[in-house]
Structure formats: structure tokens, C-alpha cells
């Protein structure tokens, strides 16, 4: 038997991802022997130092896990703590939280679509290089991103690590008139988001589909808010999972491997699953606004999307939705009498799970009678996607082995970026290496 040539694909520092990681793929002939998404971003131990902090400090602390999606951390935290303390935030305060989340989705998705992912498809090193040949496209990107940031700034005080979110509601709520200029801006943004969908639909996508297990939040049929998921819902999968968020840990396990400072999640007993835009969209297409559904159809997407490279279209569709939803909330807004519900500490455990831009973000807190945190558990979306990214690469690489080394490495990096991995989140984990022997 002839000896098969072996090779390695290595990317030491993955570019255009949030945080520090690399990729290593080992090949023997056309067989992938090993794929490792290496997470060398240093661990920061949030779950450990949250112990002993008062619940009121938690939203500000956990925001610091991620500068790109601080709102997601704040939202999962406040919902978990309110669950523990038996408070249900509803009415306009609930709507404002949804609005804040719309802002973060617009900002985060637009950053990824145009600045981190689009350069892969168009062959640029970055958006700045892209701006030289497509100045109008990059300008549109920046202004659309800015519109998202303007929502977060108006409601949260600033775009990164907003200061206005508290357990029970907000510190201060805006008056109706403060939204007037923003609403005009968002009408422009919604139009720019529609143009974004049309733009990304013209990109060339590798012919690559997989039969994923999708996991996302979804409101059960007949729920009063028949809405696309941000803050609430049950955990659903296309494999029959349908559980309340409090049963997350009974159904999902985390594993720890040597090459990763991020724990990785698996769904018991189904194994590897996918969270994020593809899952959310495929499980909740019927809950998108008519405008977002129409944009998806015009871009050639069906109600389920199994090509991870097309996540760029799905993110763009979700951006249309977020603009649309933000405008709906602003239109119906009336300033609530109180900025927050009253909160009384008690010894209890609470669960929170919300849809961060990258997928479900699970929090659990156990509090004592004074309101101090005894135990905290945080599972970010990127930890849950690490295994699926490695699997994608294992299936993707053998199909493209005839590519020159540099092109294959580029494609591998792109396959990782399909997930918009946030390594800062995952280590609270990326390098690409391809080993052919």
C-alpha cells in the first residue's frame, strides 16, 4: 500500500473574529485526522469572582465578558435574577429591553456581515481595503452599524457596556419625544438593511449543506407574544427538544479539552448542535415580520437554511427584522410610570436564557437571602458552537483538497467565521493550522 501524503493546515491567529484563537487541521491523504479550534485567549474566571457580589452589581460585571454583545449578558443576567426573585418585568419595560436587544443585533450583525465576513467572499483583507473599491457599500455599513449603536446609546447611555440596565428594569426611561430622531434614522436603517440583504445575496457560496441539529428559543404556539426570539421563549430544536430554560443543564453538558480555554457544550443525547442565526431563523421563520420574510425569499432563502456560509444572508435578514421591530416598539411606546419594578432579595436560584447575536446565552444564579451571589453559571453561544465548527471543517476540508494551500487556509478561516465566533465570550476561545502529516 502506498504511503498517503500528509499535510497540516495551520492558522496561528485567526483574523476578523472577536478574541484570540487559532485553527489546526491534520490531514492524511484526503482523510481529515484531526480538527482543533484552539482557544488560547486567557481565562478570566467570571463565575468564580461573581460569588459574593450583590445581585444588583451582576449586570454591570457580566457585561464585561464581551465588548461586542454586552447587552446579551446583561439581559440573560437580569432575567435569571428576576426569575430567582420572583419578578416579571412586563409592559413597556419589557418592550424597551427588546428594543435595546434590537440595537445590539443591528450593531453586531452589521459589524460581522460587512467588516468581518464580507471581505472573505470578496477577497479583501479587511473592510478598509474593501472601502477603496466599494466606498458606498462600506459607508452604508458604518452608518447602519451606527444606527444600532444609537439605539443602545439612547437606552443604555453608551454603546459598549451600557449603564442603564438593572434588575427590575432600567435606572431611567426615555420620554416618547426622545425617540423622534431615532425613528427617522431607523427608517433609513431598515432600507439600508434591505439593501444589505440584496448585496449579500449576490455573493458566491460554496455548495455545502449539513443536516444540523438547531437549538434556539421559540415561543410556544398560542403564546400572547408570537414574536421572533430575543429575551424569552422555550428551548426548541428540530430534533424534538421542547423544554423550559430551567431544564437547560439537565439536557446539555459541557466538556473541557486541553486545546481550549473555553468549555464546549453538547446536547444530551444528540451530541453536537448549532446555535445562532441559522438555528434561530430555521426554527422561527414564521415569526419574522412580513418585510423580513419577503427579503429572505427575494434573496433565495427558504424557511430553513442549512448552508453555514449563507449565515451572512440570515444575519442580514435578522438585521432587517431588528430595524422593523425597533420601529414597531418605538411607535407603540408610552413612557412607563416607573423605570423599574421593586425588588426584594430572597434565597433562590434563577435561570435566564436569551438570544445573543451569536445564539443562546444561558445564565444561572443562586442567591442568598441578602441578595449575594452564591453560585453563577454562564454558557455563551460560542462555547456551544465550538464542536459544530470543528465538525464543519472536518466535512468541508476533504471536498476542497485540490485548492492551493493559501486558498484552502482562507476557506477554512471563512468556515470558522461563518459562526461569528466570539472567543472573548467563550473563555470568559481561535489559530488555524492544517496538518498533512
Amino acid at each position: 500500500m502506498s504511503k498517503q501524503p500528509a499535510r497540516t493546515i495551520k492558522v496561528d491567529v485567526l483574523a476578523r473574529v472577536e478574541g484570540e484563537g487559532g485553527l489546526y487541521v491534520k490531514l492524511k491523504g484526503d482523510q481529515v485526522q484531526d480538527v482543533k479550534l484552539k482557544i488560547y485567549e486567557p481565562p478570566r474566571f467570571f463565575e468564580a469572582f461573581l460569588r459574593g457580589r450583590h445581585f444588583s452589581e451582576v449586570p454591570d460585571i457580566v457585561a464585561r465578558i464581551c465588548g461586542i454583545c454586552p447587552v446579551a449578558y446583561q439581559m440573560s443576567a437580569v432575567h435569571a435574577i428576576e426569575d430567582a426573585l420572583g419578578v416579571k418585568v412586563d409592559g413597556q419595560l419589557r418592550a424597551l429591553r427588546r428594543l435595546l436587544y434590537c440595537g445590539e443585533w443591528i450593531e453586531s450583525h452589521t459589524l460581522h456581515v460587512y467588516m468581518l465576513h464580507a471581505p472573505d467572499f470578496l477577497g479583501y483583507q479587511d473592510a478598509i481595503q474593501m472601502a477603496k473599491e466599494h466606498p458606498a457599500v462600506v459607508q452604508r455599513a458604518l452608518q447602519l452599524k451606527k444606527a444600532g449603536n444609537q439605539i443602545v446609546t439612547l437606552l443604555g447611555g453608551r454603546e459598549i457596556h451600557p449603564i442603564n440596565v438593572r434588575v427590575g428594569g432600567f435606572y431611567k426611561v426615555p420620554s416618547r419625544s426622545e425617540f423622534a430622531a431615532l425613528a427617522e434614522r431607523l427608517k433609513w436603517a431598515r432600507d439600508a438593511a434591505l439593501k444589505t440583504v440584496r448585496f449579500v445575496a449576490t455573493l458566491t457560496f460554496p455548495d455545502f449543506e449539513r443536516d444540523y441539529v438547531f437549538v434556539a428559543l421559540r415561543q410556544p404556539e398560542g403564546h400572547p407574544f408570537n414574536e421572533y426570539p430575543f429575551n424569552e421563549g422555550r428551548l426548541f430544536s428540530n430534533g424534538g427538544l421542547d423544554i423550559p430554560i430551567g431544564e437547560y443543564e439537565a439536557n446539555f453538558a459541557e466538556e473541557h479539552v486541553q486545546h481550549s480555554n473555553a468549555l464546549r457544550s453538547v446536547l444530551k443525547p444528540h451530541g453536537v448542535y448549532l446555535v445562532g442565526p441559522l438555528a434561530r431563523y430555521s426554527l422561527n421563520f414564521d415569526r419574522l415580520s412580513p418585510l423580513a420574510q419577503e427579503a429572505a425569499r427575494d434573496a433565495g432563502l427558504g424557511p430553513v437554511c442549512r448552508n453555514p456560509f449563507k449565515s451572512i444572508i440570515v444575519r442580514s435578514v435578522e438585521t432587517v427584522y431588528a430595524c422593523d421591530e425597533a420601529l414597531r416598539i418605538i411607535e407603540q411606546y408610552e413612557r412607563p410610570e416607573k423605570a423599574a419594578f421593586e425588588i426584594h432579595p430572597r434565597a433562590a436560584t434563577g435561570y435566564g436564557c436569551t438570544e445573543a447575536p451569536r445564539g443562546i446565552l444561558y445564565h444561572r444564579y443562586r442567591l442568598d437571602e441578602e441578595g449575594a451571589v452564591l453560585e453563577a453559571k454562564i454558557v455563551p453561544p460560542t462555547s456551544q458552537n465550538l464542536r459544530i465548527i470543528e465538525q464543519d471543517l472536518g466535512q468541508f476540508v476533504p471536498k476542497f483538497l485540490n485548492l492551493p494551500e493559501a486558498d484552502l487556509r482562507w476557506q477554512c478561516e471563512q468556515a470558522v467565521r461563518n459562526y461569528d465566533p466570539c472567543i472573548s465570550c467563550a473563555t470568559h476561545c481561535l489559530r488555524v493550522e492544517i496538518d498533512r502529516g
Binding site: L14, A15, R16, V17, E18, G19, E20, Y40, E41, P42, P43, R44, F45, F46, E47, A48, F49, R53, H54, E57, I61, R64, C66, G67, P70, L111, M115, P119, Q125, D126, A127, I128, Q129, A131, V138, Q139, L142, Q143, K145, N149, G157, R158, E159, I160, H161, I163, N164, R166, Y171, K172, E254, E255, H256, V257, Q258, N261, L263, E413, C422, S424
Partner: protein, 262 residues
Amino acid sequence: MSSKVRRKPRIAVFKLASCDGCQLSLLDAEDELLSVAGALDIAYFPEASSAMGKGPYDITLVEGSVTTHHDAERIQEIRRQSKTLITIGACATAGGIQALRNWKDVDEFIRVVYPTPKFIVTLKLSTPIAEHVPVDFELRGCPINKHQLIELITATLAGRKPNVPTYSVCMECKRKGNVCIEVAQGVACMGPVTQAGCGALCPGFDRGCYGCYGPMESPNTESLSNQLRILGRNNEEITRAFRSFNAWAWQFRKASEESERT
């Protein structure tokens, strides 16, 4: 007129232990980003670009604190490659929120978070960059203010002193015409000891400042601790107030250790 074509200054952005938020501030400068990119050669900025140019760099921005042996070595090399080294944000200038480990047993922390502790290699302390190498300018904030960052880059390019005030948040409150929430409403506020730069954000939202810009130039932390006691805060709460995003900045560290001992 010189016949030479001037080379654009080269900028690099590095990340150690942090949340990515401070370097994101540069990408969040939506109106200025393309002009910054026009004035500078963005040589190394992995979050934004696949082009990873080698040093030396004219301006280097470093986000994050040193928490591993690898990063402790990396920062030495980054310093050697950098003409001007600027640290950005509370992690790089004060060790960040992850410096809360500095008062605890880090091995116990590893056991709490990771099922296989032997896979994790980390230092006992989270430390700011200036504890390792000389730093040319420290830009405070958790996160930094993007307008201050643009001002700092502009000033560095022009060879002038940046206009980044070191007075307290109180000055910004006064200028905005805010009624003092500490005096008028009895809300605990770190504004008197915290450096300006945020625009007195929290008091404007009816809450006390929580010190995310770190200590001002000469903070009277003892006086603030007394004021917090008058407002009914116990020593444990005062310790926690100083021990957040800039906990390892020496002035806040001293104040938190004093209230812990009391």
C-alpha cells in the same frame, strides 16, 4: 518642498486578557474610521484585518491585562516593536475586572470554572501593562471613550500632548448642570474619586458613578469612604465599591484594603 513621499505611520492593535470592547471602540468610531485609516497604515489589527504586518510600529494600542506567562513575554516583544506604546482601557491600565483574582486563590477559581483544572495555565495576578514595560500613555475607561481615543491618536501623530483631563467625574457633572445625586438624593457615587471621560454618564441616568474610569489624578478615597459610611454603607459594601473594574489601580486598591481591614 521635500521630494520624498512621506510614509504613513504604522499602527498596531494587540489584545491580551480583555473583552474586546476597547479595540471595538475604534470600529465604533463610524464617522472617523475611514479618515483614521486614511491617515494611518493599519499594520496589525487581527480583529479587523487578515493582513498581519510585522513590526516595528509607530503607534501600538494594547488592550487587556497580563494574566499568563505567554502574555508576560509577548508584551516585552510588543514593547520592543513599538515606538509609542499606548494602553487602552481598564484591563490594560489597571488589570481589569479579572484582577479580582488578586485577592483570592486562583487555583480555587480554576476549579470553580473548569472541570479539568490541569489544562489551565494562568498567573496568580492580573496586572496592568505598565507593571511589565514602560508605557507612553494610559487611556482610562471600561470601556474607553472613542472620542478620547481619536484625540489621543491625532495628538500622537501631531507630536502634541493629548487633551485627556485627569480631573474627576464631578467636574463633568457640574459642567452638565447635574444636581449632585450623592448630596441631593443620598445615592452612593464614586464620581468624586473617578477620572472624567465618560461625560458623567451614570449620574445623568439617575444612578451613582461606579468608577469604571479608574482613579482621578489625586483622589481623596478616605473622604469618599467616610461619605459612603454616612450614607449607611458598611465596610464590605465600600470594599466592593472600590473593587470592580479598576480594583488593582493602587489608589482604589489601598482604599478597598483599608475598608476591608476596618
